[in-house]
Subunit: 357 residues, 3 copies
């Protein structure tokens, strides 16, 4: 399928600079593009690619002014990244085979479960007692939806997701394969004989609207009350969210990070990959934790950036890290000073002796 | 459903202080409690909550003496946490819907598999050849129980657990969704041409009684012999246990930690979240590894605490971490000393010159 | 089943030293071996085990010369580890029950899917529209093979693997339970109101021949183009591979490591457990990243070894780590120098005064 630059521009409300009849048939990254490809340039860091790309059409931001002649036709939009994302979305809608509908057999749907209009239930999916599956929900093959679970309208549950009993999933939520929602929190009371006694976990997990959760991420149910993932949160793959955690609206967490029990993150926080946050902390809105950091204290000031393990103020921590590399040199400088000091002392003592002599 | 303070006290063998007829209908955390809620206070750190809570009844330890007047009725038991845990357990038994029984269809049960009394086999569960499933075992939907696997009495296998052939699961074991037990150990022999040749992994995994394993944790089978998880071990989510590892009785490991091949932990060890332990080590009983630490040496002395990456003695490591933060200041102090020393040398030289003059 | 030393030697083209009629019936590790066991000794570090083992036969390398008398019969081969691996392989072929064939019911196979000769499709497996499953492929129970997925000859997909639509799996690939291949890359465009807009992920994942992937590992599909895992790559459990990553031939990654988006690793790289690599980097062939390291810069020189978080040159980093432990002592030495300097200044000032007096 082929489009002209002017057709694309119309679709994303952009302005053409160059040949409006340039033809594209594929989306690509600017550094890998071939003739007939459509790309975008959002990050000025990659501007050089624009002067070498073989792409036929490139989407750029209105504010962007090329420093050299460019071969491809440009389409200018307010924000190149968002413009391209819009295009991807339309492309996705077009080619998508995800518009599956109906109930595949064999599947297991409890008689007391309630299904909305226009749902997709894949083969080998299990829908428990009193589960509520709203309109336009897609539940892919092999999912487990426990008793009394609710899934609101327009959500997509990818193959092999497991949602334990009593959990609640909002609307337009996307949960990727292998996620486990509502497994028991890790709570055990140590006994005098060295064994541990399980603390029953009688709460649940509440996932609000427009949350997306990556593959194989685990979110434990609360001991009591709810583990809460608020509206618009985006979680990457293989993340651990412990019992009674709360994640504020639009908080974003990268892969393999872990949040320990009862910790509460504010809105619009950003947690880097493989970072860890200990339990019972409060993080102000806009807190940013760097990848691989380990945070062990609450953060009261909004928009604080932290790094390191243990994590503290981003800029100070970077300075310490820079000096860490010079520790062998610092050690040598210190030794040299010690030697000089020693010489001084000896020289002074000798001088005293000679003065006295 | 409602209970009075005296009814609760009788149930957990406690003593009432205050109104024995105070009514509760819900369990809650002390900081979130409303009227009609029952809470507990175990950690003295949270004592202040007791003087502000709206809870109607609070369970405390016998040893606890309030410093101010308290509004809620108190129930005193030997250990508040254990007392509350006992209550949670009874609550859980009461409301639990986990008493599923029988065989749901469709499921796949090999003719040579052997099922005990009173088992639950969920829909889409797969029970392989010669598998032995003992009395009162619950196997939730979508589990895979490979050939020759044994699961002893009273164990619960949550939805979507995969147990490879020949592994052995003890009694009263709980395995959460998405766990993989008995996948191949990561063993490859490097070849001269840069490729790797797989070392077949012909051992198995043995999980003893009363072990609990969190969601999406992976435990690899031994190359030869067994990977062994001893009685009472508790594993959190997303943990990696490599081939031929042995975990001693009642050892506890937090989420996302990883134990490399052939390492053996003693009894009652505690490993923090995201910690890593390299292969072929021996850890004495009671070893404690802090979160995010990286342990690369065996630990011979029981009850040693370690932290850092690489990990060493807990207290020394904390001191180094504290000074790490001051590295920029240390660097400045060192520079200043160097300058002073330089001035001294020059001054001394000048003086020599002037003395000579 | 029993074998003599000479039978084993013939099988692996080795030379017997000692009793050629020594009988073995089991494979074991040298430190755990009993009479009748067959072991190997490859790592000279474990040589002492040879003089104490109860094993009946031990495979060693031709170059190995024992320093003491040894009781077991020795079989010498060019490389002891490879020789033993070969034996394990033959043992595995013999006892293996993995020669399952045919289609178990119930399973779900789209009418438009295409199955080769001699395939195994386990119960509850799902084969989507236009999927191509080549000869001798084994798809274990509960797998999900999405629309338009291809799996080439001789590959093994263990129970509960999920492969999203449009991904491509090479020949002789092994994928362990719980892996997710082709989930959406983590791409969201921040909006002015603080929310995030999903960037559709329209690419796929391409896994080349002879790759092995551990349990619960996740590999995201590319935003555009392909996430590529090249021939012979070996991935351990619980690894995160983000969108548009490329892993070069024979690269090996240990458990719980994470590679961020668009990063490209060369051939024969080695990444340690729990290491993290940020996005958009290029790593030269043979790069080695230590466990728990955090790499944030590209590596241009082949065969570079790095460690630390942030990671840099292995040897320098180890030196800094060694001094890190001595930071409290360094701080004390610095304080002492400062005090001495202060005394000097005072002494000098006093001397000046007394000189002037």
């Amino acid at each position: 399928m082929q489009f002209t630059a002017i057709q694309i521009a119309t679709l994303i409300q952009g302005k053409v600079e160059g040949n409006p009849d340039a033809i594209v048939s594929n989306l690509a990254k600017i550094e890998e593009a071939k003739e007939g490809d459509l790309c975008f340039l959002a990050n000025p860091k990659y501007e050089d690619h624009l002067y070498n790309t073989k792409a036929s059409v490139v989407i750029v931001s209105t504010s962007f002014e090329p420093k050299q002649a460019v071969k491809p036709t440009l389409i200018k939009v307010a924000d190149a990244y968002s413009g391209f994302a819009l295009l991807l979305e339309k492309y996705n809608e077009f080619v998508s085979q995800s518009t599956k509908k109906g109930i595949e057999e064999p599947s297991y749907i409890s008689k007391s479960a309630c299904l909305g209009q226009n749902v997709y239930i894949g083969a080998f999916a299990y829908i428990g007692d009193n589960a509520q599956i709203a309109d336009n929900v897609q539940i892919y093959p092999g999912c487990y939806i426990g008793d009394n679970v609710t899934v609101k309208a327009g959500s997509t549950i990818h193959p092999g997701v497991r949602i334990y009993k009593g959990c609640s999933i909002g609307s337009k939520v996307v949960i990727h394969s292998g996620c486990v929602i509502g497994s028991d929190g890790f709570g055990f009371a140590p006994q005098k004989d060295g064994t541990y006694k399980k603390i029953p976990q009688i709460g649940n997990v509440v996932i609000e609207d427009e949350v997306e959760i990556g593959a194989n991420t685990t979110i434990d149910r609360a001991t009591m009350g709810s583990t809460v993932i608020k509206k618009g949160v985006k979680l990457d793959n293989l993340i651990q969210i412990a019992h009674n955690v709360e994640l504020g609206e639009n908080t974003v967490i990268a892969a393999q990070a872990g949040i320990s029990g009862s910790t509460k993150l504010g809105k619009n926080c950003i947690v880097g990959g493989q970072a860890g946050i200990v339990g019972h902390l409060h993080l102000a809105d806009g807190t940013r934790i760097n990848a691989q950091s380990g945070l062990s204290k609450s953060v009261a000031t909004p928009n604080t950036a932290l790094t390191g393990s243990p994590a503290y103020d981003y800029k100070s921590s970077l300075k310490s890290q820079a000096i860490f590399r010079n520790l062998p040199e610092i050690n040598q400088r210190l030794q040299k000073l010690e030697e000089m000091m020693q010489e001084f002392i000896e020289a002074t003592n000798n001088k005293k002796h000679s003065d006295l002599a």
